[in-house]
Amino acid sequence: MKKILSIVLALALLLTAMSFALAEELPTITIMFHGSNVTDDSAVLEAVNAYIADKVGAKLEVVWGTWGDFDDKATNALLSGDTGIDMVFTCSWSADEYNTYAKNGYFVKLDDLIAEYGADLVAAIPESLMQAATIEGAEGMGIYAVNGFKDTATQNTWDVNVTLLNELGYTLDDFKAMSFYDFGELFAKAKELKGDAFYPFLVEPMVLERMVTGSIIVAGDSGSTNLLSLYLNQDDVSAEGPEGNVILNKFATDEYRKFVDKMREYYEAGYVDPSLAVAETSNDTRTNTQKTGEYLIGTQSYAFGYEYSADVLDRGIEVAFVPCTDPYVDTTASQGAMVAISTASEHPVESFKFLALLNSDPTLMTLLNYGVEGIHYNLNADGLVEFTDERANYSPWTNGMGNVTILPDTAAEGAGFRESFKAYYAGAKAIPALGYVFDNAEVANEMAALGTVAAQYALALDAGALDPETTLPDFLAALDAAGMQTYLDAANAQLAAYLG
């Protein structure tokens, strides 16, 4: 009898212990973001965890990737099958590139999870973004990441110093009637007025090239120096371009030659700062000069509402952004910021529930993006967000988090901003080759060789620092020797197959 009793007691003890273990803390899910500037997230995470405990059934931890760190950290976590990272930022331009990593089996296919838990998510995100995320991955055609609803269309604009333009005796309408090839007279007058050390044309040379020749980035092309290009129909971005749906070597076109010749002329006349032609200094020079407003015309890859950002308001001049074309949706922009669930994750269901909530629930998105009300921001009399000094310790990259259209309006942006933002991008048209991604695996060697050649010439040519008369033929010959034709043929064969 004693024996039985002791066994029963022991069992009872065991059961209590087990039930304690079961009632133990919620599982922790970890998400890795890109481009953040966060030094203290304790208050935010405390509020987030209180909010999601019931809704998601998990505790959140965040790894705040910075711009420079993210690529190494994310690829290491994914390649090593780190179970400590459940969700990770991905997109068409980061090192854990969406299409490649989905194809190689690092991301969980979400279709079943969406069907089961994703009703709110589907309602919150436009159909077109779901389509853009639908690709051929390791487990067949499907969605492998939650696509963030942000500035999902590309639009390049002229960044015009209207204050100086008016001083020179021109109006903004005069400027709008001009093309790149007519800017010479403006620059000459500006140079006359402001002296020799003033460079009126403040450009990102690579962006300028796209603006003038109407070329589009081909997703999957060589990293920072693109080699391939599709061409945009500048009057109707959804129609076929002047060259048809064929990918070209962008440096071998007549348009390109015309562009670099003109750029050379501007450069020789002293309209372009020489440090813009050097990769190491180009971006620093541009952003620093922008701050002072010491330019006449610049280039800007534009996002709706950029003119209300502190970045533009602090320049001390009147700035206008004059678009070259309507905004267009291409593969690069429509896969611009996504979050995937790692196949190494031990909690894919909780992770997905969290992502679905983040992208459809304004409270959670605001909390994680803008911080805690009363600490990181306050609402003013009109109900608009005004950030406090604490925001400096908690500034995640807004666009990298997901659906930014459910955020409240800030005082700087004005009431109704997010609604207009949503309408602006919902109305953007898609280019004919949307969704096409060049799978460069079979020509990886050529791509590496071509990338090296292009890095040597492209930026300096685009900026006008090299004489196209002598260097462009050298450049094209070097590209041919590095296997440009093989590379092009592979891209075109895939494009033809994609378009059917």
């Binding site: 420079g68 190494d72 090593s80 099958g81 331009w93 971006n283 952003t287 620093n288 800007q300 970045d311």
Partner: protein, 307 residues
């Protein structure tokens, strides 16, 4: 000094022309070493406006201590990481020197039976590495080296190159007779190593210690790999490197990121601030050199002329 001696000296010396030439060459070399550092100091005291207008210059348009006041405002984050740099360097150097000496000493002893095997074991890792991802898996998953000080120290503790240097140093400076003599005199293994051999190889240890201290002091990549959440343990070098990498990334991807990149660039530190941090990093290790130098020089000359 009598006349004869004078002539002898003159006979052995370089001619005045060669002397001058050597002085000039060495002088230029020394200048090339010191000028970049002076330049960094000057830039750290240059005002942002001056950098914007004329770029880096030895003669800036205006001076400013703004970068330093900003550095001091970084407050906790800065001092903590500065402290971490010292902690990691001191602990790492002491441990790695101990490990290096204890590994290379048996390799020098002829009476150690498995010395070829252990020689090979260490040498092999010098030529063949496991690659980044497998190393990462072993360190993080298997050994739990993540988000702690150990993650920044342990992976660097053993260096096969230093083992070879140290073993060679043992072989060239410690005569085997010395070991025999101490054995005959009744010294056990511990006493032989600690009291007889170690004093002889002090210059070698100083060299290894200097190499290790430099390696630990300059290390930032381990932080990048293994520190993801606990930013309280990162060294100053990583703080600086992170700023630099952010700037590089934004420069490279500005065309992809568009307006986001321009906005992010606003948060980046100024050029002068970066240089001020470099000064913070360089000064302590530069101060450590003279202490090691005595031994390193002694190590170079030891054994050159002996009876």
């Amino acid at each position: 000094m009598n006349k004869q001696q004078k002539n002898q000296v003159a006979l052995n010396a370089f001619g005045p022309g060669a002397q001058a030439l050597f002085h000039i060459v060495l002088g230029l070399f020394a200048l090339a070493c010191i000028v970049p550092f002076l330049f960094v100091i000057i830039i750290s005291f240059t005002s942002e406006d001056s950098i914007r207008q004329i770029g880096y210059s030895f003669m800036p348009l205006s001076w400013s201590t703004q970068a330093y006041s900003y550095v001091f405002q970084l407050g906790d984050a800065l001092w903590r990481s500065y402290f971490n740099s010292f902690l990691i360097t001191v602990v790492g150097t002491v441990l790695s020197v101990a490990i290096c000496v204890l590994y290379s000493y048996p390799l020098y002893r002829k009476d150690f039976k498995y010395r070829n095997f252990f020689n090979f074991l260490s040498f092999f890792t010098m030529i063949f590495g496991g690659g980044l991802v497998p190393t990462f898996v072993v360190c993080k998953t298997l050994l739990g080296l993540s988000d702690n000080y150990a993650a920044l120290i342990v992976p660097l503790l053993f260096s096969p190159f230093n083992v070879i240097v140290m073993r060679t140093f043992f072989q060239t400076t410690v005569p085997r007779e010395l070991i025999e003599a101490s054995t005959i005199d009744g010294a056990g293994e511990y006493r032989t190593l600690l009291q007889i051999v170690l004093p002889v190889v002090k210059p070698g240890i100083a060299t290894i210690a200097l190499l290790n201290a430099l390696a630990f002091w300059n290390e930032w990549f381990l932080s990048l790999l293994y520190i993801t959440k606990n930013m309280n343990v990162i060294p100053l070098q990583y703080l600086l490197m992170r700023m630099q990498r952010n700037a590089d990334f934004l420069a490279k991807n500005s065309a992809m990121l568009g307006a986001d990149a321009a906005q992010a660039a606003r948060n980046l530190p100024s050029q002068s601030l970066k240089m001020a941090l470099v000064v913070f990093i360089v000064v302590p290790i530069a101060c450590a050199y003279p202490f090691f130098q005595r031994y390193v020089v002694a190590g170079l000359t030891v054994g050159s002329v002996k009876g």
